[in-house]
């Protein structure tokens, strides 16, 4: 609901503007003598309390559009947000009850709507706000490199990418369930929702539950109910044990939770990353309704340099619902059976 979003946004503006004084480096603590507008809640063992339901839904994309500055003015952000609100309003207007079926040959819609018009906009909940960090409206989640874009691949990274593409070309995209995207197979969520890094998908259900005990932090991603269990300290998994979402070990640096994740599953390639990928995340609660989330991607075999981004996780005063994806996955079988049906029809036509 927009009222919730607006209030949270206003509070964020004040809180982050103040917190911005001491967020110059992610792990910095409040300088002594500066009054905080709010007291950081702490768990029973004195650590910052990050618990609750949170959302990282935002309109800010991962990469900065060409020619755009790192920050937007308040007016620019407002205009973009209004554009979204206007669009939602427009798409909510009643339709013509006497409308005919849509055009034969498709309705011209692009992207995921796939020329068949997808479904009504009321199912979508993409995020209605430009991300605000340290009092700035951000034009990209990526902050480093300074151009706000994923750095170039190394030669090795490019070679492996070409290899992957060549392997994929051996198959038609609908030949086997294994040729379909992970999200369509209900193995992982859209994009990098669970990650790490935990990134919004610009569609819906960008929600997380955090639970904290003295020796673990649990982060559950709504899609696909993936529980990432972060051990506070401890030994790494053996090199060949590679679970989805990798192996996360956490520690506190002052009031910031630092999580280092390695041992990623070979198929969970994040932007083409190799099996030496390491993701470092930093979570700092900066207000009642905001966790400042910062991440760094390091994979010298794939990227010419490390890269980092940040965005706010806002308090979600709502329930997170079960996302039992595989159990209700008509879509995957529709996709495969549809392709098989079209192949049969094409074969029949040929033989006639």
């Amino acid at each position: 609901m927009s009222h919730r979003g607006r209030h949270a946004f206003g509070a964020l503006g004040v809180a982050v503007a103040t917190a911005g004084l001491f967020l110059a480096t992610p792990s910095a603590q409040a300088p002594p003598g500066i009054a905080k507008p709010w007291t950081l809640p702490r768990s029973a063992d004195g650590k910052p309390d990050l618990q609750g339901n949170w959302t990282n839904a935002t309109m800010t994309p991962l990469e900065r559009p060409e020619g755009q500055a790192a920050t937007l003015t308040a007016a620019q952000a407002a205009r973009i947000e209004k554009g979204m609100a206007d669009r939602v309003e427009r798409l909510a207007q009643p339709s013509d009850p006497d409308r005919a079926a849509p055009p034969h040959g498709g309705d011209g819609s692009t992207g995921a709507a796939g020329n068949v018009g997808g479904y009504n906009n009321f199912w979508i909940d993409p995020g209605e706000r430009i991300a605000m960090v340290n009092g700035e409206y951000r034009s990209s989640i990526i902050t480093d490199p300074p151009d706000g874009r994923v750095p170039a691949l190394t030669d090795e990274g490019r070679r492996r990418q070409a290899e992957r593409q060549a392997r994929a070309r051996q198959f038609g995209q609908y030949d086997n369930p294994e040729n379909r995207p992970l999200a369509e197979r209900c193995i992982m969520s859209f994009g990098s929702n669970a990650g790490p890094p935990m990134l919004p998908n610009y569609f819906y259900n960008n929600n997380y539950t955090i639970v904290q005990t003295k020796d673990h932090v649990l982060i559950m991603t709504e899609m696909v109910h993936d529980a990432r269990i972060i051990r506070m300290g401890g030994e790494r998994l053996p090199k060949h044990v590679r679970p989805w979402m990798g192996d996360s070990i956490g520690r506190w640096e002052g009031d910031t939770l630092v999580i280092e994740t390695t041992n990623f599953h070979p198929q969970q390639l994040f932007r083409g990353a190799s099996d030496t990928l390491k993701v470092t995340e930093r979570l700092t609660r900066v207000s009642a309704d905001t966790i400042h989330y910062q991440f760094t991607i390091e994979d010298p075999e794939t990227f010419t340099r490390p890269w980092s981004g940040e965005l706010p996780f806002k308090a979600l005063n709502d329930l997170i619902f079960e996302y039992a994806c595989h159990e209700g996955n008509y879509a995957l079988s529709n996709v495969l059976s549809g392709e098989r049906a079209q192949e049969r029809e094409a074969a029949k036509k040929k033989s006639q």
Partner: protein
């Protein structure tokens, strides 16, 4: 790991180890004084940790004999394993068990019993575990996989290794469930030193075990987690479902803590393991 946390962790493990040693040294009659339970800041027992049931409930929650397989066919002399499971040999065989249902049998209505029989006859097609579907409650508790309890002052969350199933046990009742789900909607509260969880809002899709024991969407489950020693939780679940059973009934079993120093939940995201099973026939070139 910060020193303070490490010290507490060592203390807890030592206490658990000490308690277990104390118990095994005591006479079976149980007259020995109870070892002190680990407690949270609230004073309530601290159930944090990795737990697992050690029984054959997932095969059959009622008392049962060992037998060759769950899916059988007519043999020349006696029934034999069905073709689909034959190659598993002894790995596909069913172990015996005394069951976990208090009082012995599940009090089905006649329709409920008939449906269980159908489920058993069509086990391969119907058992949701075979398709890596979510296990439901209470089956999640006694799957042959560990689960981990995350208990804080403001939350109680259970992560199950099997299929990555999760349950966020709300400490504040959010009202009636808005939708039917596999794992239901759970609300938890302490009754003395026992954590009581009430769950409803189930769909009718999950089973209680591999033996076709089933329920309707009307089911309500009340679980009781009573820590008896630092290494044991006495677990009970009472099932109420007037559409399927003639009265409420209860299962009961101990849950055991994983005490090895490197104990951790593994990952069993089995969805990809069953793709050939579920979608193999839809491949461009199905395997023969």
């Amino acid at each position: 790991m910060p020193k303070a946390v490490k010290q507490v962790a060592i203390a807890v493990v030592a206490a658990a180890a000490g308690a277990l040693a104390a118990i095994t040294a005591m006479p079976v009659s149980g007259q020995a004084p109870r070892p002190a339970l680990p407690r949270a800041a609230s004073g309530k027992p601290d159930l944090n940790g990795i737990w697992q049931a050690m029984n054959t409930a997932n095969w059959d929650i009622e008392p049962h004999n060992a037998r060759a397989a769950l899916a059988m066919r007519e043999g020349p002399v006696v029934p034999v394993p069905a073709k689909e499971v034959l190659a598993l040999g002894a790995i596909g065989a069913v172990p015996s068990g005394l069951g976990v249902v208090v009082g012995g049998d599940i009090p089905y209505t006649p329709e409920g019993l008939a449906r269980r029989k159908e489920n058993q006859a069509n086990w391969l097609a119907r058992d949701p575990e075979i398709k890596c579907y979510l296990p439901g409650v209470p089956r999640a508790t006694y799957m042959p996989f560990p689960f981990q309890i995350f208990q804080s002052e403001s939350a109680f969350f259970i992560a199950y290794e099997y299929a990555g199933a999760v349950r966020n046990i709300y400490l504040k009742d959010p009202g009636p469930p808005q939708v039917d789900t596999w794992m239901g909607q759970s609300v938890g509260a302490w009754d003395g030193d026992t954590f009581v969880v009430t769950t409803n809002g189930f769909n009718d899709q999950s089973w209680f075990d591999r033996s076709g024991n089933h329920h309707s969407e009307m089911m309500k489950v009340v679980e009781r987690y009573a820590m008896t020693t630092p290494g044991h939780i006495q677990y009970e679940a009472t099932i109420e479902d007037a559409k399927t059973f003639t009265r409420p009934w209860t299962i009961r079993m101990p849950l055991y803590r994983h005490v090895n120093a490197d104990a951790r939940l593994g990952q069993f995201k089995c969805v990809e393991f069953v793709e050939e099973l579920i979608y193999g026939h839809l491949r461009k070139t199905p395997l023969k």
